[in-house]
């Protein structure tokens, strides 16, 4: 039985589209095992052939290039496989691969991952930009930067730069420099509870209230780092509208020149973002964002907004 804080129960009662029973049933189960194949160091066909010979059975994910669901593996723990240790694969949640796909990265792009640790999305970007592009993977925590560097090393990301800096200040030295920026913002993590049930017991509304201005500042800073015509993706793995719809709606109010683009991934169920929450009415544009609860796709709950700088 998963313990819930009073604040989480309150939130669940305020979300008109949340089926709490289905939510709890889903997060009680582990996330489906999914991986991405490394096309930066290897040829995808070689990796697939090698893994097939070793007893892996994989099923492609429709919404992400190089992403697969693991149907069978030669090891009980994927993190203890040769494939993982040699950087042939990256173990990652199925929906967590979507923000980089939405970012629409092209070979040769200059990309910034503003809140990058532990590096799953940075490794994904690095394989898409190729040797003529670059990914700057930044994080504010020195402890988390170690994990970030380790994962980029294992991935063979020779096209990466790891920086340790407050993402809110990044635009001071990187204004207008990047084609693509990802802000996978720190959040209350209510969409990835399968990894840690205690999130629901510890959750307080104040977490979301404290995180919201930080998320807004990171989005602002990341937006300034874009070249004209560039794209920024803001994502969280939470279901709280204060950290999702409200952040985007207020950003659009401040930036009438910014253009929100539709996020309609193939093969994933999405739900309509809320039009209002807690007395705050959101911009109708927010409807273009992607939102899902964990039980929608048997994976993580996510919110994703794609904004183009005109």
């Amino acid at each position: 039985m998963i313990a819930l804080s009073e604040d989480f129960k309150m939130l669940a009662s305020q979300l008109p589209d949340l089926d709490l029973e289905a939510y709890l049933r889903t997060v009680e189960e582990p996330l489906p095992e999914c991986i991405r194949l490394n096309t930066l160091k290897f040829r995808e066909e070689d990796v697939k052939e090698f893994m097939h010979a070793r007893g892996w059975r994989l099923e492609p994910l429709a919404w992400v290039r190089h992403g697969y669901r693991v149907l069978e593996a030669p090891v009980a723990n994927l993190g203890d496989s040769i494939e993982h240790m040699l950087g042939l694969i990256y173990i990652q949640g199925p929906v967590s691969m979507l923000p980089v796909e939405v970012l629409d990265v092209k070979a040769g792009d200059r990309c910034l991952d503003l809140c990058a640790a532990p590096g799953s999305k940075s490794t994904q970007i690095s394989q898409l930009v190729g040797l003529d592009g670059v990914v700057v993977a930044n994080d504010v925590s020195s402890k988390r930067v170690k994990a970030l560097s380790f994962n980029l090393q294992r991935w063979g990301a020779i096209n990466s730069v790891v920086t340790l800096a407050d993402g809110r200040l990044f635009s001071r030295w990187a204004e207008g420099l990047f084609d693509r920026v990802l802000v996978d913002a720190p959040c209350s993590s209510l969409g990835v509870v399968s990894k840690d049930w205690s999130v629901l017991k510890r959750y307080r509304l104040n977490h979301s209230r404290r995180l919201q201005p930080l998320q807004a500042s990171l989005l602002e800073s990341g937006y300034k780092c874009l070249k004209p015509g560039g794209v920024i993706v803001f994502s969280t793995c939470t279901i709280h509208p204060l950290e999702n719809e409200a952040v985007i709606s207020r950003f659009l109010d401040r930036h009438p020149e910014a253009r929100l683009e539709e996020v309609r991934p193939q093969g994933l169920r999405r739900r309509r973002p809320l039009e209002e929450f807690g007395g705050e009415r959101f911009s109708p544009e927010v409807e273009k964002c992607f939102k899902c609860y964990p039980y929608d796709n048997g994976g993580e709950g996510f919110f994703i907004a794609k904004i183009r700088r005109e």
């Binding site: 160091k41 290897f42 070689d46 090698f50 010979a53 070793r54 007893g55 030669p74 090891v75 009980a76 723990n77 203890d80 496989s81 040769i82 240790m85 040699l86 950087g87 042939l88 200059r110 040797l131 003529d132 592009g133 670059v134 700057v136 930044n138 930067v145 560097s149 380790f150 980029l152 090393q153 294992r154 063979g156 990301a157 020779i158 096209n159 990466s160 730069v161 790891v162 920086t163 340790l164 800096a165 030295w173 990187a174 420099l177």
Partner: protein, 145 residues
């Protein structure tokens, strides 16, 4: 720093055949491999921790290549590459030495077809001992194929 500065490393490599985007940088005994574009962007960043990947380390008169270094540079090595089987690769990745006859002492790079698995030290007893960090080793006793 240009790769042409690495006279000693280039003695081990057919450097002219390397992809043109690659640059080597040196810090102490460690050599990193990074792309020109990443190097250029890094110069404009604050708080840079690392660039590219750790590719090689000087060990006496030899270089040994990291797992990533071996994957990047292995195809351009002049010699010293040992082909191993899947079952040997499983043992290698658990930190166990592999045996070959007639090897000279020094550093050898190990590969299984197109997949390079880092370097090892060839000892007096003819075994190659893996020089891979513990956090990259596997612990399971699965099917050795």
């Amino acid at each position: 720093m240009s790769r042409s500065n690495y006279a000693s490393l280039s003695a081990f490599l057919r450097v002219d055949a390397l992809p043109p985007q690659l640059v080597f940088t040196e810090s102490g005994k460690k050599i990193r491999c990074v792309t020109h574009e990443a190097l250029e962007i890094a110069a404009r960043m604050k708080g840079v921790v690392t660039m590219g990947v750790y590719a090689a380390k000087k060990l006496g008169d030899d270089y040994y290549l990291s797992i990533e270094g071996s994957q990047l540079l292995g195809p351009y090595l002049e010699g010293g590459v040992i082909e191993i089987s899947m079952s040997e690769a499983e043992r290698w990745m658990r930190g166990a030495p592999i045996e070959r006859e007639g090897l000279e002492r020094g550093i050898a790079v190990v590969r299984m077809g197109w997949l390079y698995l880092g370097s090892g030290r060839v000892s007096r007893d003819g075994r190659i001992y893996p020089l891979i960090p513990k956090e990259r080793m596997i612990s399971y006793q699965g099917d050795t194929g």
